[in-house]
Amino acid sequence: MGLSDEQLKVRCRSGDYAAFEQLYHRHKNPLYRFIYRQCADEELTKDIVQDVWLSIHRACGSYVPSAKFTTWLYRIAHNRVIDYYRRSRNGVPISYDDSFAEEQWLNMENSNEPEQIIQSAQETERLLSAIESLQEAQREVALLHLEMGFSVSEIANIMQSNPETTKSRLRYALKKIREQVSL
């Protein structure tokens, strides 16, 4: 049995490069997918991933061992994605706003846009298309849930949002995916 993420991170604080490398290889692929499926741009994803890992290394001293490492890692990744949105022309999407009402999501749910996007016959491709068609905040919640298996409270902690809002986002995201994949 190897060391836990938290134990490895504590070792990183004392300058153990091997511990950091182990953490990197353990989480590099989920993190890469998490960011790539939000940006849909390979070069941009590389930049953000690199920024996240450098931030992780830089912030070794501020890591509290009681906190879950993955929560900490994905919070940094979330912040970097938000930074990316902030720098983009459209700014941070409105779907990240906690005041974004549930009714508005219901209204948007009735639009025909997802059906137009989904063209692939394969279920996995349909799934990815469905994820891609989600609102940004819903997509991030769905990815955190599907990629890492985070609970609602953990996702709320990562995204620093209201747990109720997070719960709603996850519920509607899964509902949309179910409908698009025809499950």
């Binding site: 300058g15 692929n29 799934l127 990629e147 899964l174 995916i177 179910r178």
Partner: protein
């Protein structure tokens, strides 16, 4: 509700099938290389700098040492100190010998007098140059009473008659300037 949970499980299985997307190897190498560079401070570079700085400091120190050693060797050869010691030995000898000793110590480029020029005072009296017959010196000449007639012959330097020109003055001048 059961349908939803069943669907969620199916979604999760489908999603797991898409996990073949992996982080590119070149990205891994790049990130880990950067982290390694940050993790390990540039010790070899520091060593290189240490040797560089050390060699420069050693060379500067060597230059200083060589300069100070050269200064120590040059300092004992001081002409002033030698002259002072020789003069101290001459002080015990008679004045005439001291005078000769002083003159002998002077470099040849200096003016060496064979006789005292003060013994041949040439005064200006009423615009006429004259030579005292006695070796009185300036002080004795100044002490002379004004009413007493001077024993110094007053003669024109360039008399009207060029034939009667006294060669005495020319001799004096010759003796002075030939020296």
């Amino acid at each position: 509700m059961n349908d939803n949970s069943h669907s969620d499980e199916r979604i999760q299985r489908l999603y797991n099938q898409t996990k073949n997307l992996r982080s590119p190897i070149e990205l891994d190498d790049f990130i880990l290389g950067q982290i390694r560079a940050l993790e390990e401070p540039p010790i070899p570079a520091a060593n290189d700098k240490w040797w560089l700085y050390g060699s420069v400091a050693a060379s500067i120190l060597l230059i200083f040492i060589v300069q100070f050693q050269g200064a120590d060797k040059a300092s004992p050869i001081r002409p002033e100190s030698v002259e002072i010691t020789e003069l101290a030995t001459v002080e015990k000898t008679p004045p005439s010998v001291q005078e000769k000793g002083k003159k002998s110590q002077l470099p040849k480029m200096f003016f060496q007098r064979t006789e005292d020029i003060n013994n041949k005072v040439v005064r200006a009296c009423n615009g006429v140059l004259a030579e005292p017959e006695e070796n009185t010196g300036i002080e004795s000449v100044l002490k002379e009473k004004p009413n007493k007639p001077s024993n110094i012959p007053i003669r024109p330097i360039y008399p009207n008659d060029p034939v009667k020109k006294d060669l005495k003055y020319d001799r004096v001048c010759d003796s002075i300037f030939k020296q």
